[in-house]
Amino acid sequence: MSGLVIGFDLLLVAGLAWLAWQALFDRHRFSAVVHFMAFGLVMALVWVRLDALDIALAEAAIGAGVTGALLLAALGRLPATGGHSPAWRAAQRPLVLLALSTALLATLALAWVAWQLPRPGLAVPIAEALPESGVTHAVTAILLNLRAWDTLLEIAVMLTGVFLVWSLGAALVPYAPATALPGLPALTRLLHPLFLLVPAYLLWRGSHAPGGAFPAGAVLGAGGVLLVLAGALPWMHEPRRQPLLRLLLAAGLLLFLAVALGGLLLTGTFLAIPASMAGNVILAVETAAALSIALMLMAFYLYGEPGR
């Protein structure tokens, strides 16, 4: 049986290496993008093999889904020329060989150092701190309580990204008009309840099992990108709805900041949540964060500011 498992691991590793090679060095850009999407899906399997189910959920929705949609949408708009990698000139060859061998040596050194590093790990202290965090799933406890600072800044980074993208220009209309493809609105209507049900389930599950704000937001955002693609969200482009849209985009960050300041008032420490109410506070922050993450993923997909 263990031979089978090792064989499966080897298959995964070889497949990932091949997919990455194709994604980086394929002659056609479209083919490279499709290989990259397949790379994301196989990567999700690797996360399952490494006992990282939260990451697998997020990677399947974001790495393969949303990133792939972003890349494909950009590919349709960029000029078809200029996509081919230049051939090496004769004078470049020694330099390229030097660069290749340096990269190879550096990565081998990296692997060697990683192999040698002591691996103390924080599994034991985290397990000890878990009862006071308000949830029983360790990853959610770290994200929303023990190391909430990281998550707060991460949502701020994402919001900054949305501001950057929106400040570049007006939103671009979808590449393919939705009216020409009747199947797409039908699909979104059919799957609409599921796009709400699955994130709600993931959010609820996050307190005791893999799930939580990030996978829920990712799934909701992937469904939302499909809605944007089908033209089913005209309110996002209406000028009078823009304040609401901006408020929802910032909701996760605002609630998170409010909780942080509340912790400062109640306990004297920034971002400290009192253990008695931690469970409910975490659920509220997670709900707002998931909603904001989903909306931000959809906002990225517009490639510009709507309603301008």
């Binding site: 056609h28 479209f30 493809l181 797409l184 799957l191």
Partner: protein, 115 residues
């Protein structure tokens, strides 16, 4: 009873894998986008259905089995509409279906470049 169900599961999964291999072969060998879609969607949906049935036979309880079958239903919806979208977009972009007998070396990868 359980052993028989488990055995039936193995048979179904093997049959499903064979369908997958056939579909992938069609994806590699067929001349144009429409024929490839035809091979991929039909053979893979059937293969996936057989694999899901096989896994459901081996599931620990009824709820898990129903979840696996739900996966099959969802993927059927998604792939059928996805295949329609790919085909209609390709047609709108001006890719004509190849009619008549294909000449073997004419398979170019440029056919599939535009989504």
């Amino acid at each position: 009873m359980t052993e028989w169900l488990s055995l039936l599961g193995y048979v179904l999964i093997t049959a499903g894998a064979i369908f997958f291999i056939t579909g992938s072969l069609g994806l590699i060998r067929f001349p144009d986008l429409y024929a490839r879609l035809h091979a991929l969607t039909k053979a893979d949906n059937l293969g996936l259905g057989l694999i899901c049935l096989g896994l459901a036979c081996q599931a620990p309880d009824l709820a898990a089995a129903l979840k696996i079958l739900l996966v099959w239903g969802l993927i059927l919806i998604a792939t059928s509409i996805g295949a329609t979208l790919i085909a209609s977009t390709a047609l709108a972009c001006g890719l004509r279906p190849r009619l008549g007998r294909p000449s073997p070396p004419a398979v170019t990868r440029d056919d599939t470049r535009r989504p």
